[in-house]
Amino acid sequence: MSRSNLDIERYNIFRAIEFGFMLPSQEMQTVRHVLIDLLRETSHFMKQRGYWLEWLQTLERIAERNKVEDAQLQCKLFNQLGDLYRLTQQFPKAIKAHKKAETLARQSNDEVELGHIYFYLGMVHLRNREHKQAEDFGQKSLNIFSRHKPDRKEMAGVLNLLGLAARSRNDLETAESRLRRSINLRLRTNQPVDLARTLNNLAIVLQEQEKWKEALHYFAEAKQTLETTDSELDRVMVALSEGTLFFRMGQYVQARETFEKIDMPFLEQSGHLLYQALATNNLGAVFISLEQFDEAETCLRESIEYCRKIGDDLRLAKTLAALSEALTKQGNKQAALDTIDEANALLTKLPAGSEGERLYKDLVEQKEKVSKN
């Protein structure tokens, strides 16, 4: 049978899994492997197609009602739930769900499952800019997978996580090396979406090292790899990264074209607030460079709304800073000053020595300039 109709069939699959978890224990035992497979495959598909919110609500309902005594099944359920919380920026909930899974895995002495849980936890911390914890959980996961008949796919996943953790502490050489190792493993598995993600990550690290040509080469490879998949979200991800590269190279028209190709209605349906915030912010920044300030203001204001929903103060402050620039260029001095004040109020809440502190200093200078003009 084909997977081509999965978009419309997803509600039937949700129902099947929901009612599957309600089966009497005896019958449940006969289909537990079926349920575990369905949970995994459905999660994979829903994440690719951006149906996170619907899938999350279904899993929450199952978890709330769940009276299943099968620890392994429960563990899988909580891990999937945690991963969806991470994707929807609900980090405390994500950690809580993975911790529940950890308790269940320890009870049943399932070390391989613990390796998975540490990987998930590393991803949550990475996304929450907790770089040290991300590295620690990544290493714990790597140790377990190395001991237990290393699986290429799992090892590749952990190396990708560790590469990103290295990048986040600006250790770009280590990041590049880890990501290249991950790609080598991924090339030997049939996981095009995962391969494309790591290619995209490597291209970003190369871009940060100003290896523009190489970066463009890996973005092109990532796009080509995605051509055979139906993962729209990953296509958005590559477009965001590639557009940023064009921007940094000063190729603003190409940057604008790349960002404008992003399927915004799809992103809205997926509920992926971060990508919506990034797409609109990046386009706003390009418009400033193209001196189209009205368009820039519209995009940046939209991005600000997404940032507010996410609750990410640093990202919000950055976008407010960009908006103040657009307002200044439009001659709207007072509005620009108010915007800088709002951004600075957010930045003062962030820890010392962080990226937020540097931005704060920049904004204080910017405010002085605007006031003088």
């Binding site: 049978m1 419309i8 039937n12 699959i13 129902r15 099947a16 599957g20 309600m22 369905l38 459905t42």
Partner: protein
């Protein structure tokens, strides 16, 4: 209607039957003969037209409905009527028009009356002076009181129905189907009120029908149709048909409906309505139109427009809940967040009847109490609601139909393909098809796909009712549940 004549039965509902009936009453006044033969009738028509005339065989074909007079050959028709009127076969204007009606020809107009019989013209003028249409206000006053104060989510459907009813082309019958409480009568009511104001129809007549199930299908249909004719007669021709036979009433009513466009609304057409009813109904249409509401899909009605009402979407349901809460004074409910109201929607779906009931109950009970009660469906007004909507039809379902309906709990709101349903219901092909067909007829399962891929689903409220009906230890359902999991496992081609 049939007459015994010379040992043969004549069908007086057809043009040919009536023609023969009238000819048998005719004398040949020129030859002083008590019988007007087919040959002679053809000859006399020819004389009137100034041509050589028609053969006896041609007249015979008309009488056996083997051939008919073309509508464009109006002069032939007029000559035929004139000859038969002179010979005493057609005694009145009514009889002349009855013959025309049976052949789907229009009534005689004033010029034609003048030509055939001036007395008929005077009679018609007197009738017209006697007749006066009801005003819009009078017609509206005869509608049942509206049960709503504001409408939610039905504008598009209402527009479609009005468009079909206002068109002078087919469809002449529009049928709104759907489960109880879904808003069929509400749409019909609002359509009626709007169309009364347009003055497009001579009259907009609302008839509530009640049929009982204790009669056989044929008898039931006949009596339903006879009741319809009587009720229509009372409204279209007040005080004139009281002592008339059903056949006579039918003729007059049909004539009235054919004469000018009327809109007849038959609300709540229930019970086992056979093909016979629909055939008879069809004869009353054009230019008049019919709007019907029913829980049951009609049988073979390829020339009718069917509109199956689905649940209201979330936004409209929330709007209705808030509005209704304000109307009944349940202010706390009206101020609940969209998320809280969505929780209610997730249980009852977009069934307006159920949503209104929730608003009413919120005055007395807490929201968690109402939600729990909706899920259990065992007590008070909520149990009564389930009873009103589902109980009667549930009792009439066969075991296989119940089995398939229970299976629908495993189906999401976009509906399932036939292939999935048949596999998970565990019914053989014949039983499955029969059960599916019947459940669609009862509006318990609704088609949700498109012309290329048909899918089937149930309303949220139906799912809730089924959930209440279902025994947790129900082995048949458990088996379907297991088969369903394996179905999707296979569908995703998972290599374990």
């Amino acid at each position: 209607m049939a007459h015994a004549q010379s040992g043969k039965r004549i069908n007086l509902n057809t043009f040919g039957g009536l023609l023969r009936h009238y000819r048998h009453r005719c004398i040949d006044w020129e030859r002083n003969s008590r019988l007007l033969s087919q040959e002679r009738l053809g000859e006399l028509i020819g004389q009137k037209l100034g041509i050589s005339g028609y053969s006896g065989a041609a007249i015979s074909d008309w009488e056996r409905n083997k051939s008919h007079i073309n509508k464009d050959e109006r002069r032939v028709l007029l000559s035929l009527i004139e000859v038969m009127h002179t010979g005493g076969g057609i005694k009145s204007l009514d009889e002349a028009n009855q013959l025309l009606l049976a052949g789907n020809y229009r009534d005689l107009n004033q010029a034609e009356l003048q030509l055939i019989d001036k007395e008929w013209l005077n009679q018609k003028t007197a009738e017209s002076n006697q007749y006066s249409y009801s005003t819009a206000e009078e017609q509206e006053a005869l509608l049942p009181p509206a049960t709503y104060t504001r409408l939610f989510g039905i504008e598009e459907k209402k527009a479609i129905i009005c468009q079909h009813l206002l068109s002078s082309n087919p469809p002449y019958v529009v049928i709104i189907t759907g489960i109880g409480g879904i808003g069929k009568s509400t749409i019909a009511d609002t359509v009626a009120r709007q169309l009364i104001q347009t003055r497009h129809f001579a009259q907009v007549i609302w008839l509530s029908t009640n049929t009982s199930n204790d009669q056989t299908s044929e008898a039931n249909s006949s009596s339903t149709f006879a009741n319809l004719v009587t009720k229509l007669g009372e409204r279209l021709l007040p005080n004139t048909l009281e002592r008339e036979s059903v056949e006579r009433q039918l003729f007059q009513v049909r004539r009235e409906l054919k004469k000018r466009p009327n809109l007849i609304i038959l609300d709540n057409l229930e019970g086992d309505i056979s093909l016979h009813f629909w055939e008879n109904l069809r004869r009353l249409t054009n230019p008049s139109k019919f709007l019907l509401t029913s829980r049951i899909y009609p049988p073979d009605t390829s020339d009718f427009y069917l509109l199956n009402l689905s649940e209201l979407p979330l936004k409209s349901s929330i709007g209705l809940l808030r509005h209704q809460a304000l109307i009944v004074g349940s202010t706390e409910l009206s101020h609940l967040t969209d998320q809280n109201l969505t929780d209610i929607y997730n249980i009852v779906g977009g069934n307006p009847f159920a949503l209104r009931l929730v608003a009413k109950l919120a005055i007395i009970y807490s929201l968690p109490q109402i939600q729990a009660s909706l899920k259990r469906g065992q007590t008070g007004a909520i149990a009564q609601m389930y009873m009103d909507i589902y109980h009667e039809v549930w009792q009439t379902l066969q075991q296989t139909e119940k089995q398939l309906l229970q299976t629908m709990l495993l189906v999401g709101y976009t509906g399932a393909l036939v292939e999935q349903l048949q596999i998970i219901s565990k019914l053989d092909e014949d039983n499955f098809e029969q059960a599916l067909h019947q459940l669609i007829n009862y509006s318990l399962i609704e088609p949700r796909g498109n012309i290329y891929t048909q899918r089937y689903g149930i309303h949220s409220l139906t799912a809730q009712y089924l959930q209440n009906q279902k025994e947790t230890s129900d082995m048949t359902f458990t088996e379907s549940n297991l088969v369903n999991l394996k179905y999707w496992h296979e569908y995703l081609a998972i290599d374990s």
